[in-house]
């Protein structure tokens, strides 16, 4: 991993603000689901906050994002208003997708969130289509496509990266490598040592970074974005990270050796980033203010989600085609 310079203070503050919103949102989701206030399948993102926050801090609101079922961090970092997002997670008619998509299928074009998929690897070919549109449109947008280490074993990864490379599409493939695909460790599923190596095998500019280090992650993101906007094509970023609460809520992480988990906790990006801010003379009070603001946002969003109505049942006949389906 590179020895990048520390990012600017305001960049780090921006990243922290997004990352803290993610961390608190994740915690709140887990709490509310645990308490039976929400009955949903939830893919925790605790541990991966900084990867996402730094990546999204390097792009604009109108750049595109394609992400996956484990997408809360990406969606929040990209800027979907918490109320809309919470309501969708809760299946309410006030949600981003009127409750039809749910957590695995968040779309919010206003903030560039175009697709969230539950099919491993499938977002990659779609991201190319967004990139192709930008290339034809000359709109200077980039598309960020998030997926996991496990996804790099599926065919769509290979086909998608190759097509992006030959057409020099402005797409950033962000592999959030948390070492596990469900309960299986990467070493048991992946013939190559790294995912970046696979990108190189496909002729693509590929980097491997400590995704938990805000400055390093941000620098890699920024470089990839500049590269893409300059018309030089895609980058594969393999961002090393970890997920602390298993594949989905309820998963006890029994398959993760104790030492590995302990090491990961030591590398927890959130306390590190917070300390970096303090080291940069950001005051404890300023940080606390950010945290409090995020808490308030979540309070409001969670309440909004709980208070909102479920959609009417026959909503299923709408949005299947461009015309309503007869009852």
């Amino acid at each position: 991993m590179s020895n990048t310079q520390m990012a600017d203070k305001d960049v780090l503050l921006d990243i922290f603000t997004r990352a803290d919103l993610i961390m608190q949102s994740d915690r709140r989701f887990r709490k509310m689901i645990g308490a039976g206030q929400l009955q949903i399948v939830y893919y925790p993102v605790r541990g991966q906050e900084v990867v996402s926050a730094a990546m999204m801090a390097a792009i604009n609101q109108d750049d595109y994002l394609v992400t996956i079922y484990r997408g809360l961090h990406d969606q929040l970092a990209k800027g979907i208003p918490s109320k809309d997002l919470w309501a969708e997670f809760a299946g309410k008619v006030t949600g981003t997708c009127k409750g039809k998509g749910g957590p695995m299928h968040i779309t919010h074009p206003e903030t560039g969130v175009m697709v969230t998929t539950g099919i491993v690897g499938s977002g990659i070919p779609i991201a190319n289509g967004l990139g192709l549109a930008s290339q034809l449109e000359k709109d200077n947008k980039v598309t960020v496509c998030c997926f996991g280490d496990g996804a790099s074993n599926i065919g769509a990864f290979h086909e998608g990266l190759n097509m992006a490379q030959i057409w020099k599409l402005p797409v950033i493939f962000l592999c959030q490598n948390n070492h596990y695909g469900e309960h299986t460790h990467m070493r048991d599923t992946t013939g190559s040592k790294t995912i970046a190596q696979r990108g190189e095998g496909l002729g693509m500019r590929s980097v491997r970074v400590n995704g938990n280090d805000a400055s390093e992650m941000y620098a890699a993101a920024k470089e990839a974005v500049d590269h893409a906007r300059a018309g030089n094509g895609p980058t594969l970023i393999e961002a090393m990270t970890f997920r602390f609460h298993g594949h989905l809520l309820g998963d006890t992480s029994h398959y993760i050796p104790k030492e590995e988990m302990e090491q990961a906790r030591e590398d927890d990006p959130m306390p590190i980033l917070r300390q970096q801010l303090l080291d940069l003379q950001v005051s404890e009070a300023d940080i606390a203010a950010i945290e409090a603001k995020n808490t308030a946002t979540i309070d409001e969003a969670a309440q909004f989600a709980l208070d909102s109505d479920y959609p009417p049942g026959d909503e299923y006949r709408i949005d299947v085609l461009d015309v309503e389906i007869a009852a």
């Binding site: 175009m114 099919i119 070919p125 289509g129 034809l136 065919g155 769509a156 030959i166």
Partner: protein, 331 residues
Amino acid sequence: MSDEKPQEIMFAQACNMAMARAMADDDKVILLGEDIADKEGGGVFKVTAGLSEKYGTDRVRSTPISEQAIVGAAVGSALVGYRPVAEIMLMNFITVAMDQLVNHAAKLRFMSGGQTSVPLTIRTTTGAGTGLGGQHSDMLEAWLAHVPGLKVVAASNPADAYGLLYSSIMDDNPVVFIENTPTYFTKGPAPAPDHVVPLGKASVPREGTDISLITYGRGVGASHAVAEKLAGEGISCEIIDLRTIAPFDEETVLKSVAKTRAAVVVHEAVKNFGTGAEISSRIHEELFSDLKAPVGRVGSGYAPVPFSPTIEKAWMFSEDDIEREVRKILG
């Protein structure tokens, strides 16, 4: 008469003209597929010939052999306003891209609560009878028809192909447009340049009173031949060309069968669990007490498409099968 327009065109040509027209009308129309640009010959069946020369290789792109990437690129660009037309060279190859088509193209409008839509067209071709064997001839429209959110279209003649493919490209829903390889180079009357065939509307290319033959694609020609033969015996067949297989035009089908009180559904696909079953069921459900006899079905046999011509012929739906079924139904 030298500057009159041609009176007849081939099926493949009709598809080519429909794409050319769509590209001229809307610069969001782009084409993707293996070998489709002119440098690579304008498609293995030349259906896209001349289009990259006219509209450039930015808009007409030869792709790697990567069907998931092809359909995915179509999905993504469609999400942000393009009207991609992706060619899946032969229908069997769609089996490697079903995820993109079914889990994504067909569902994203719904799952996004209507925030996005996926106005893509998949063009593909298939058809048995020419010795291409088990992996290059399958008719899989029944799978696609079962997927809510997808439209499935098949034309039986060049003019319809022209009008339907144009409508498919301009439709705001994902459409699979199925061409038929063995009839690519058969001719039919040329359509007017502004000819359009709306999706969801069947045609009645032959009116009759004794029985309705409900079909699409290559089944239409076969049904005409049988109708012609039976007319000599005083049996009057009405032919319904569905044109859009899903969602199909129930109104036209039911109106016809309400009149004739007998029907046979005809398709090239394997009969078991084919689209004919749905059409037959719908007719029974709506017109049970009007029917003279149960709705008949004609389709190909329960086997992969055989290679050898003798077996392929025996396996495949045929005019004889249609005639036999009509006679059986009419007692």
